[in-house]
């Protein structure tokens, strides 16, 4: 098209004297036409093509920015989620440690209490058994004492029954009467 316009301008241009344009090989009419054509082209492009193109580019840019933003948000969310998960895990670990520690303490306390109880029970059993043994020893001693006493009395009866004569009896009676007087 530019070539066509150049040929058209050359055919219709009046002959001029040799000037700077001719020296340079420039046809000023042709140049003006080209400038006008260029301006029209620019105007057309600016009017119809560039806005659509820029709009498309802007939309694309917006889309990319939105996607980028969403990606950032997702990344932030992921980071937050990770931090939250880490925090939760830490809390869970702390809780678990606390529960284990508490369980250990309670277990130790229960064990200690059980040991104390068993110890007391054992001591009580030993004390009771000792007391029972003491009682039985005392009872056995008393029984032995009584039996010995009975045997002594019985033996004395047997011996005295054979030993005491009328004379000895008179003496016994006299002594007892003297004691009364």
């Amino acid at each position: 098209m530019s070539n066509l316009l150049t040929q058209f301008a050359a055919a219709n241009a009046p002959p001029v004297g040799p000037g700077i344009f001719e020296a340079l090989g420039i046809n000023w009419q042709m140049l003006i036409l080209q400038i006008v054509a260029f301006i029209i082209l620019v105007w057309l492009l600016g009017k119809f093509v560039y806005p659509w193109l820029m709009k498309s580019v802007d939309e694309r840019k917006d889309t990319i920015e939105a996607a980028n933003k969403a990606a950032h948000e997702a990344q932030d969310a992921a980071a937050n989620a990770e931090a939250r998960i880490e925090k939760l895990l830490k809390k869970a670990r702390d809780d678990a440690s606390e529960i284990v520690a508490t369980a250990k303490l309670e277990s130790a306390a229960q064990l200690s209490a059980s040991e104390d109880k068993a110890k007391k029970r054992a001591e009580q059993i030993v004390t009771t058994a000792q007391s029972e043994i003491d009682k039985q020893i005392l009872a056995a001693k008393a029984a032995l004492h009584n039996e010995t006493l009975e045997l002594v009395a019985l033996a004395t009866e047997k011996v005295v029954g054979k030993v005491v004569t009328a004379r000895i009896d008179d003496s016994l009676i006299a002594n007892s009467l003297k004691a009364v007087e």
């Binding site: 004492h145 002594v152 005491v164 009328a166 009896d169 008179d170 009364v180």
Partner: protein, 132 residues
């Protein structure tokens, strides 16, 4: 039915009659009849004990002696001396029982006083007092 008399009155009546010696047999028959009639035969032992007390107050002491052997004269005299020292009496009726089970010593019972120095009693005391 006879009038109910107090034990004290019965005792004094019988003791007076026994002390004076007036119709002893009849008095004792009266006592027995009265106790049967008034259904107080269960009080006989207590009444006899009271009569012995009343007689002792009147100088008549009824004593019971238990020994393992027969009493010699000296021992009997000694016993009567002890009774006299306890109860001022002019008449002592000594009832003597020989019981070999007492082993030795004597058991003397007079109203208001008992002396038991028998070996059987001593052994019994040993058994009871020192038993645990």
């Amino acid at each position: 039915m006879a009038v109910k008399l107090s034990r004290r009155r019965i005792t004094h009546y019988v003791a007076d009659n026994l002390a004076t010696g007036t119709d002893v047999h009849n008095t004792l028959m009266q006592l027995a009849g009265y106790l049967v009639d008034t259904r107080r035969t269960k009080e006989l032992d207590v009444i006899v004990r009271d009569i012995e007390y009343a007689l002792a107050e009147r100088g008549l002491v009824s004593a019971r002696v238990v020994t393992a052997f027969k009493l010699s004269y000296v021992t009997r005299q000694a016993i009567e001396d002890v009774i006299n020292s306890r109860k001022k009496s002019h008449d002592i009726q000594l009832q003597h029982v020989v019981d070999p089970a007492v082993l030795g010593g004597l058991r003397l019972d007079i109203p208001g006083f008992r002396l038991d120095t028998t070996l059987a009693h001593t052994l019994s005391t040993l058994r009871t007092n020192y038993k645990k």
